[in-house]
């Protein structure tokens, strides 16, 4: 290699070295940048996994606490849908499911044993009493609970409340797989 290199004139050697070093610096900078970003990505993911593991340690305890409160299998999405709507209808006539009647159950998978079903019921032009009655009725129902409530009053111009629009998210747990106690 030295013989080949020595065949070039001084100027040619200098030019060759300049080009080579520019290429090497560019390549080196890119490679080092990649290494750093890959390492940072690795480190970030590893840190996230460690924090995940810490959180997941508590999963068994939470599931056990839930199972202590859920005596039987709970109620399915279909049963929830029908019950929540029926109760709402019994309280106030102007009641709507948020989406199409057959599709307004939101299902959240809670892992191996549970799923949480939620239906959204909307009261339109309801009175305060309607809202209070619905809340109290849901409280009395086994397995069903309110997971979120939104109330928007509509006022007479410059005056008191005319009526309310109330959105109730009614939820229930369903034990899809029996947990060993």
């Amino acid at each position: 290699m030295k013989q080949l290199f020595d065949k070039l004139s001084g100027r040619e050697q200098s030019l060759f070295l300049l080009l080579a070093w520019c290429g090497i610096l560019y390549w080196g900078t890119a490679s080092l940048g990649q290494v750093i970003s890959q390492y940072q990505a690795y480190d970030g993911n590893a840190t996230a996994i460690r924090s995940h593991n810490e959180i997941l340690k508590g999963k068994g305890r939470i599931e056990k606490s839930i199972s202590e409160r859920l005596i039987d299998k709970g109620i399915s999405g279909k049963t929830l849908k029908n019950s929540a709507y029926a109760v709402a209808k019994s309280v106030h006539n102007d009641v709507w499911p948020k989406k199409h009647r057959g599709q307004y159950v939101e299902v959240v998978d809670l892992g191996e044993f549970y799923e949480k079903n939620t239906v959204e019921i909307e009261f339109r032009k309801a009175s305060w009493d309607h809202l209070e009655k619905y809340v109290n009725t849901i409280k009395e129902r086994k397995h069903m609970f309110l997971s979120k409530v939104e109330i928007e009053p509509t006022y007479i111009k410059g005056g008191p409340v005319r009526h309310y629009t109330g959105n109730f998210w009614v939820s229930a747990l369903w034990q899809k797989k029996l947990r060993r106690r």
């Binding site: 070295l17 090497i24 996994i49 995940h52 599931e63 609970f145 109330i151 009053p153 747990l173 106690r181």
Partner: protein, 416 residues
């Protein structure tokens, strides 16, 4: 003669790698004393002046060099006529790596310091015999004479005649004579020095190396008989060439390093992909656990009755400031109106409302802060626009738990 050069490799001769040693009989030599006050930086100029004084010819007509020791305050100067060297066949000396007189190996400090008493030492280089006189413990020879061997001596392999002639040039009373006659071997370039080998004449057939001496490459530049200007430019050229070669080697090293880095990157990126997938899967599991946690929280809140919008809103609306009813000044009405209330958890509220005056809004916020029913007042702000008729606001708050509310007890699960 130039055509009798002892070539180590006959097939590929590269003069730029070859150390030329010109037979010593073509050089005149003088040993000079150096002044006590002379510094290393003035050495070359002083030696040049002395050479000019000693030489019968102008320096431009000479190929000359020197070997000095500031410690011993002595220098050996030697020179040969250009024209004579050209006649002998050495036209272009610039093609060689180094050009020395044949007795250059005698100038090594290691060789010069070997004698405890003044001694005359002999060395033979091809067809030339050199005799050098050394004082005790001084590496600079005080006298050097060289003569060419005769044709008979060259054929017979003897040189007693020439040896005798050389001895006659010395004061033999003051010197011992080293009986060994060494023959020059190879001159090999090593890292920062040149190694000169001496072979014992008696072991001619076996080419057994008797001894070798190293001389520093930088120091040998002064002994190189080529012109000063050439030596300066050549040293500069070689230095630059060395730097360029080092730069090339460094570049090659970095290429290897970055190639390894690229290989490592491949493995690292595989690992990163794996870890990323695990992270994504973990996020899914964590989302499940978080949902479970939320559900558990809601179930625990259900023990106290769950989300109670009626109780919560009744409590908050009791803190609305009041103003006089414009239609009936005897009555007071609420100065703040609720437009939307969201209850994501028991005791947590996110309110949106409006008022016709900013002071009503700020009074409402003050009431919330001061209220014994409010556990925590979160973000609260109003719309700063001054062109609107109403002032809009939103606020997040957490109410205190109603301790009077009975807590539902967990029912024991049926035995299975």
């Amino acid at each position: 003669m130039a055509e009798d050069l002892d070539l180590a490799v006959e097939t590929s001769f590269a003069p730029q790698d070859f150390v030329l040693r010109i037979p010593g009989e073509h050089f005149f030599c003088e040993c000079i004393d150096l002044p006590e006050t002379l510094d290393a930086k003035d050495l070359e100029n002083h030696v040049e002046e002395e050479m000019q004084r000693l030489s019968p010819f102008p320096l431009a007509h000479l190929q000359w060099g020197y070997h000095a020791s500031l410690k011993h305050r002595k220098a050996l100067v030697f020179g040969a006529l250009n024209s004579k060297l050209r006649q002998l066949g050495w036209e272009n000396l610039e093609i060689f790596r180094r050009v020395f007189p044949s007795f250059v190996s005698l100038l090594s400090e290691e060789f010069g310091n070997r004698y405890e008493r003044p001694t005359i030492s002999f060395i033979r280089h091809e067809g030339s015999l050199t005799a050098a006189a050394f004082d005790s413990d001084c590496p600079i020879p005080t006298q050097i004479y060289s003569l060419a061997l005769s044709e008979e001596e060259m054929e017979d392999g003897t040189f007693e005649l020439t040896r005798g002639k050389l001895l006659s040039l010395f004061d033999l009373d003051g010197h011992e004579i080293d009986s060994r006659i060494m023959r020059t071997g190879q001159a090999i370039k090593e890292k920062d020095a040149y190694r000169f080998t001496h072979l014992d004449e008696d072991f001619d057939d076996f080419e057994e190396e008797e001894e070798s001496f190293k001389i520093d490459a930088e120091k040998l530049w002064s002994s190189d008989v080529r012109s000063l200007a050439f030596k300066q430019s050549e040293r500069k050229r070689r230095k630059l060439s060395g730097l360029r070669w080092s730069a090339l080697l460094s570049a090659a090293a970095f290429v290897c390093l970055f190639s390894l880095l690229e290989v490592g990157l491949v493995f690292l990126s595989d690992k990163v992909t794996l870890v990323h997938h695990r992270n994504m899967y973990g996020q899914k599991l964590v989302a499940e656990v978080n949902h479970l946690g939320e559900v558990l929280l809601q179930l625990k809140q259900n023990d106290r009755g769950g989300i109670d919008p009626i109780r919560s809103l009744t409590t908050v609306m009791g803190l609305f400031p009041k103003k006089k009813d414009p239609h009936d000044l005897q009555n007071q009405i609420r100065a703040v109106h609720l437009t939307k209330a969201t209850l994501p958890f028991r005791n947590e509220l996110e309110l949106e409302g409006e008022a016709d005056k900013l002071e009503h809004v700020t009074l409402f916020f003050d009431n919330l802060e001061a209220s014994e029913h409010v556990a925590k007042l979160g973000e609260h702000e109003w719309d700063p626009s001054k062109t609107q008729v109403v002032i809009k606001f939103d606020v997040k708050l957490t109410l205190k738990e109603d301790e009077a509310q009975p807590v539902a007890k967990l029912v024991s699960p049926p035995s299975q």
